[in-house]
């Protein structure tokens, strides 16, 4: 299959991943657009026969991290990040259980970026731990510990069963 056609088939899932990272429809599609443009420019780096999906998820995630860092330098996210630190840091247990019952977007927004991306890759996109570790370029133990922390916070915020 042609590179472009494979990419088109990936787009629905890539948009879902981007939506989870950015929690905004407009930001997610901007991110997807940037990822597609980067992929087309760097297609020489993709080796035929290897998995295009992992490569695309990695590009998308790296672009988002760059964007967040740049925004942080501009001071855009400072207020939000402070809130994240309070809730997702050691104080997670102090948050009232079920405070955000049913509000998945709100709960995901309170996770630090490095936990949110692992939660999306494993729990939503269905990647194995090893695959998620490869996409994020971190050891598998880092994936499991970030996933555990993210899960605990989400369960705490969302309350009990779905």
């Amino acid at each position: 299959m042609r590179f472009e056609e494979e990419l088109i088939e990936l787009l629905p899932r890539l948009r879902r991943f981007a939506r989870g990272l950015t929690h905004s429809t407009a930001d997610a599609d901007d991110l997807c657009q940037a990822a597609i443009e980067r992929a087309l420019k760097s297609r020489g780096q993709w080796q035929d026969g290897t998995r295009l999906d992992s490569w695309m998820y990695r590009i998308t995630r790296n672009l988002w991290i760059d964007e967040r860092r740049a925004a942080g330098r501009r001071g855009v996210h400072e207020v939000i990040d402070e809130g994240v630190m309070q809730i997702a840091g050691d104080g997670a247990a102090e948050v009232e259980a079920g405070a955000l019952r049913g509000d998945v977007d709100g709960a995901m927004a309170r996770l630090p970026d490095e936990q949110r991306e692992v939660v999306m890759l494993v729990l939503v996109e269905g990647y194995a731990y090893r695959e998620a570790a490869e996409i994020l370029d971190v050891p598998i133990g880092t994936v499991t510990s970030r996933l555990a922390r993210g899960r605990d916070t989400l369960m705490q915020l969302l309350g009990e069963a779905a």
Partner: protein, 230 residues
Amino acid sequence: MSFDPLLVAAYVDGEVDDLTARRIEREAESNAALAAAIARHRALTVQLAAHYAPVAAEPVPDRLRALLADTSIDTSLAERRERRRLRVAPAHMGAIAASLLLGLTIGMRPWAPAADVAERGGMLVASGELAAALDTQLAATQGADPAVRIGLSFQDRRGRICRSFEGAALSGIGCRDANGWSLERTVGGRTASAYRQAGSGSLAADAAAMMAGEPFDAAAERAARARGWE
């Protein structure tokens, strides 16, 4: 026996070997705290999968598609012909139509939960259309594109009848017991499960590990339905 929370999470994510999975399942039968922890983890996975599934079902915006149209300059006539052929292939059109239809179906029922799941007795059980599909649908006669596709039906080691299924928001394995169809395995919907196949948590492998004997053929499946899956 107490279990490391990371191990429980790994079990729910399909990341432990078959022996460990069976050890955890046996223990969960008599250890309520462990069973509740498993149910909590599954509930979160279901909630997240159901929340994000509609995004993957939306039609992709034209501006993203346009980026990928005709970007390569190819000099091969054969390749251009092949591409034209692919563009109008009926299978391709079918996939586009199906994704549009799915988007519409979800769009038309904004009040309905994206996954048909309820909690009963601390367990996740199928409800709504998923329960109806597990109750009535036969793999042999379900047609080309059912909303919930039934995969394997089989008897597990505890004597229950279990059925694997794939839906847009949720795929998994339901086993018939006093609560109804208890969801023993849950993964994201169809799009996620395609990747699961490549990972360690494929539903077929899970079903094989749970199975006592062979999966049902069409006649056995029909007979089991006639007996109310008892």
